[in-house]
Homo-oligomer: 225 residues x 2
């Protein structure tokens, strides 16, 4: 069987590991282009804009056509290149698949991003004489927005994977791949997140998958720092 | 033709106007449940958690089954209740549809949310003697994150709707509905956004649609403040 030519533009330590992982799950051959973060800004350079105008990672080219947005890439791979794998065909499982596919970036990432920004706001780069104020601001934003949001979002995610299941139900799907970055970041960074035992067990099941291990082997660790 | 029973749980002045608008575009009858924001916190109360465990808006129930996440709701309506309308069947238009459907919440909303939080950080509720510091923080976060992000994200969106088109191409789709909140918020709030003439023209085309007008008539204005 001949496949299209897949090229993954991957940013080290980023959400783009998900696309490598999806291709590994499907057994599809691809070329990997690794883009480095600038050691000071931690951002990638602008050269990715020649591949896709928005200039963010990941970008997957399929026979030269550039796809972006992780959720759109994973859903496209499931529909066009998976022979019915990794996406439920209908019913409750498809409803759950769609929900978590959008939830990952549409709901979960926003408070995680704000938490990261607040770490910068009160961080060591801030002059010592303003740190009482910056610490107060970070505490206030996290207390009124970040932690209450995550206290709404994480328990239903934890419940969704109770009993050894996956986000769409009994079968592993692209929704699990899409949820991986946010769940791993939440468990690593959110105070008290060790109470989400089902999510921790789900991460252990993820890490046991050979395709995930291969993606990390070729793309590097998922999380920054 | 009999339809399923649709109930929209709508939060005033929020992204949930999009679901009303989609149902109006499809001519599907629905029951509207309007939820008010608390006058101080501007948040909704917890009663929506009885309908959907995550407790966020919008929620659409279809014969009693609760759907959430705007992108997932719109894509489900397109697949199951639209007779082929508002979603391209294949090809380049479907690729564009998927991209903008995910971009709206996956990329565009994060910097807009951070801009709103920074408005709070330097806002009038902050004691006057710390305002020089809070103003400096807001300027620093917006200068290093918010405005550079939006300067990457908005030009390709502007280019996508040049020449009187829609986000997926020549035809209006759910991707336009999904993009509406972020584009309207960006044009209203981002300094210098009046340069995005194609997006402003696209908003004018949106506002001319009878279904959009009906959604605003029954659901109220889209943006806060």
């Amino acid at each position: 069987m001949t496949h299209p030519t897949f090229v993954v533009h991957h940013l080290e330590r980023s959400r783009s590991t998900r696309v490598l992982w999806a291709l590994e799950e499907l057994g599809l051959p691809y070329t990997l282009k690794v883009h480095k973060r600038h050691p000071k800004t931690m951002r990638a350079g602008p050269e990715i804009k020649a591949i896709h105008p928005v200039g963010r990672f990941p970008v997957l080219t399929v026979d030269g056509v550039a796809l972006a947005e992780s959720g759109a890439i994973l859903d496209t791979l499931a529909d066009d290149h998976a022979d019915g794998r990794l996406k439920p065909a209908a019913g409750e499982a498809l409803r759950r698949y769609r929900y978590w596919l959008h939830f990952a970036e549409g709901s979960l990432m926003a408070p995680l991003l704000v938490a990261l920004i607040m770490d910068q706001v009160r961080g060591p780069a801030v002059p010592f004489f303003v740190r009482p104020v910056t610490g107060m601001i970070a505490k206030s934003v996290n207390g009124s927005y970040t932690w209450p949001q995550l206290a709404d979002l994480l328990p239903p995610a934890d419940a969704a994977v109770a009993g050894g299941g996956w986000f769409a139900g009994a079968d592993f799907t692209m929704a699990d791949i899409q949820m991986s970055y946010g769940v791993m970041a939440a468990l690593a960074r959110v105070p008290g997140a060790d109470k989400y035992r089902n999510l921790a067990d789900w991460v252990a099941r993820v890490e046991a998958r050979p395709a995930f291990q291969k993606a990390v082997e070729v793309g590097g660790p998922v999380l920054l720092g």
